[in-house]
């Protein structure tokens, strides 16, 4: 699946998007945050406060307990500040 990062999450991770293949036991958005955080310091820094991070699956907002199976694109970003 494709993972996209925006704003300071993107800056901390150090890239705008990547393709990942998490293991089968990574079922939810929260699991994915935990798995990504274990991949290195940059990820751990980006996700150090998981409660602040917002997520979208296939371009629609989701909660941390949303199941990721079948997702084409998952995005992580800080709370939005548009308008």
């Amino acid at each position: 699946m494709k993972v996209k990062y925006f704003a300071w999450v993107r800056e901390r991770v150090g890239m705008a998007e990547e393709t990942v293949e998490p293991p089968a036991d990574v079922r939810t958005v929260n699991d994915l945050i935990g798995w990504l955080s274990s991949r290195g310091e940059a990820y751990a820094y980006a996700f150090e406060k998981p409660k602040v991070i917002r997520a979208a699956i296939d371009q629609a907002h989701v909660k941390p307990d949303a199941v990721i199976s079948g997702a084409r694109e998952i995005a992580f970003f800080p709370p939005m500040t548009g308008g």
């Binding site: 371009q59 629609a60 907002h61 995005a75 939005m80 548009g82 308008g83």
Partner: protein
Amino acid sequence: MSVTATIRIQEGDFDVAQEIAALTKGRTDIGAVVTFSGICRGSENGEPIAALTLEHYPGMAEAEIARHTDEALSRWPLQGLTVIHRFGRIAPGENIVLVITASPHRQAAFEAAEFLMDYLKTNAPFWKREESEKGTSWVEARDHDDAATARWTKP
């Protein structure tokens, strides 16, 4: 008659008068037009700002705004609806966002415009970064914006 919202996410500026005219030209059924323009302020908390840079999530920005224009069209008797949101670097005094609502009477137009702006602030995937003499920093989300959005949720 079904109403389709006009939604544009663009780097360039927009002309408010032209956008109103596009909604109302040749029509005699519209009684009220409300416009909200969001403009880049030149200072924040007393500190001067050189510019804002808006990052967005292409595709989701359009989709998320469309979900909320659909909801606005189902909740209020609107005859026209336009939402334009800019991205990229925006200098103080320049436009950031435009919402236009048209309806037979003012109340629906006012309420729908306010509803859309509250949702744009908290749900549309845009992020502002401020440039000042001290450097650049991401603008933090505000709790009162979340509270403003929450009041539109049906009980």
